[in-house]
Amino acid sequence: DQQVKQNSPSLSVQEGRISILNCDYTNSMFDYFLWYKKYPAEGPTFLISISSIKDKNEDGRFTVFLNKSAKHLSLHIVPSQPGDSAVYFCAASAPGAGGTSYGKLTFGQGTILTVHP
């Protein structure tokens, strides 16, 4: 039961262009969404998040868009840089008893982004 799906295993982009990574989810209870970046031999690094009450959140070169009706979110990286080459995971969480739910994230399978100089 894959509640969070990243259907593109890999994405290749030229330096300076836009990278768009996509993520779909099925659980309507998810109310908080995050993107993480992972380099080999390192743990995932938090990039950006969005609450379900918003449809867009920006942080520098990174923008996350949320379309609740389509149960879809995307991460835009503009402009893309070679250092952005990594595996990108989207993750989601749902409210739980006691409200301390955000330690439990459901991750997608990841998308390998390669940015060519």
Partner: protein
């Protein structure tokens, strides 16, 4: 500030053995979560602890257990190891668990032979 630290970084065990993995959260963080990541997949939730109490458990067998200590560090224990337990085990901490992003350590790579 030190990030989330995990030990050991690599471990090789034999089927049927027991393993203990350790995690120290970022200073001030009271919530610790454990994740298993197998090759080609995203991390999968195992446990969350907050203020030394278990707050969540993923779909893992009872061979997996964990605990959190008064200093908020945590241990993950796995009994009767199977070949399928070979994975990267990630620990993550957050300030309270509510609306605060998880910060991950670099993981422990467990190989079961």
């Amino acid at each position: 500030d030190a990030g989330v630290t995990q030990s050991p970084t690599h471990l090789i065990k034999t089927r049927g053995q027991h393993v203990t993995l350790r995690c120290s959260p970022i200073s001030g963080h009271k919530s610790v979560s454990w994740y298993q990541q197998v090759l080609g997949q995203g991390p999968q939730f195992i446990f969350q602890y907050y203020e030394k109490e278990e707050r969540g458990r993923g779909n893992f067998p009872d061979r997996f257990s964990a605990r959190q200590f008064p200093n908020y560090s945590s241990e993950l224990n796995v009994n009767a190891l199977l070949l399928g337990d070979s994975a990267l085990y990630l620990c993550a901490s957050s300030w309270s668990g509510d609306n605060s992003p998880l910060h991950f350590g670099n993981g422990t790579r467990l190989t079961v032979t």
